[in-house]
Symmetry: C2
């Protein structure tokens, strides 16, 4: 069920590098040397280059002709940009989900929110559950939009970058309970088939996440100045 389409060497290398970059094992901003990596991974440069091309497609690396590939550098600015894009796209996804999703999808969404609510309330250090739970929720709504372009953009292209920021910026969310509450509002709007409201609430939810992170980064910057 999981990743049934990993057949070629290039696929495996891509998965490898993608994971390594997201987790920071290959540092942000570092150069990707084709000869070195092809030796270390024991694959030809052709397969490696294919994989690097796909990394470029989902913006985990940038390439320049005759110079090479570099892992993207994470910046506060870029993180904010991603949240702005997410606000727009996932807002639309929520609207379309409210209009198009099936009975089963609604039920699954309700189960998800129920599940996460319990976790957020019972478990104290709910960071892990909160993270994946949050991802599940957003992922499921995007899928329920039934707009394949939206799904590709959010679940394939932007997904890895978002994960990368989560891994490396950490994000100790104090918003677990509040976020779960907001999820419930979005869920209700989708259940009611109210696209307009679903979009509004989803955008509100993501905007608050962004503002929370901006604030967090702000305070971190001040702490660093003090230290």
């Amino acid at each position: 069920m999981k990743n049934a389409s990993i057949t070629t060497i290039a696929d495996k290398v891509f998965e490898n590098l993608c994971s390594a970059i997201v987790k920071g094992e290959i540092p942000a901003g570092s150069k990707i040397s084709e000869p070195e990596l092809s030796i270390r991974l024991k694959v030809s440069r052709a397969s490696l280059r294919e994989a690097i091309g796909r990394l470029e497609a989902c913006r985990l690396v940038t390439r320049k002709a005759n110079i090479g590939a570099r892992v993207v550098t994470l910046s506060q600015q870029q993180l904010i940009e991603i949240y702005q894009v997410r606000e727009a796209l996932e807002g639309m996804a929520a609207r379309l989900a409210a209009q198009n999703c099936t009975e089963e999808e609604v039920k699954k969404l309700q189960r998800l929110v129920e599940h996460h609510t319990q976790e957020a309330n019972t478990i104290d250090g709910a960071s892990y559950f909160q993270k994946t739970g949050d991802q599940d929720f957003h992922f499921h709504i995007v899928q329920s939009s039934h707009n394949q372009h939206l799904i590709n953009l959010l679940c394939h292209d932007l997904y890895h970058l978002m994960q990368m920021y989560r891994y490396q910026y950490g994000r100790a969310s104090h918003r677990a309970v509040a976020a779960t509450e907001e999820h419930r509002y979005v869920m209700n709007a989708i259940t009611d088939g109210d696209g307009e409201m679903a979009e509004l609430l989803m955008r509100n939810h993501i905007r608050k996440s962004r503002l929370n992170i901006e604030q967090l980064l702000e305070s971190q910057a001040q702490t660093q100045v003090q230290a």
Copy 2:
């Protein structure tokens, strides 16, 4: 000024194929044979495959392992999906442009709208000017958002697909004057720095384009049934 970064063979091949696909010279849905194309274009399969990879990244072709690449098939459904994505993204772009754009960008936007208004009013069969004028307008606003992710998504990834639909679906727009009018509204909101309003108006504008096209396709389908 134009395409200063076409240096490698793969770049040229990509530009070639991209243009050919957009214009329909390589028919939608047709298979892309690597041996055949590499001979016809007189390049190695490595360069060709690099180019095909980039075509896949901007969704002009789809690839399956061990089977090959196919030009995307244009469907009414997909066109609608693209417009929904555009509505979300360009709406956000307009909002950000209103907040972030420079004095020069505002002035250029005003010149653009002024120019297009004259064309739309004076020239009768304004389809050509309307098309490129429309593109210029939207392109400029996206650039003015100063959100690099947004710019990449709209001006690189989605751009070619949109062009492909314009070429092959034709679109005899009866909305030239109305659209130009809507452009003016958006421009005013951006000039005022009213992000909320700019987003609203831009979304409205794109939504109307979508509805217009849906209606057009509807009537075409009926005509075909009658014939």
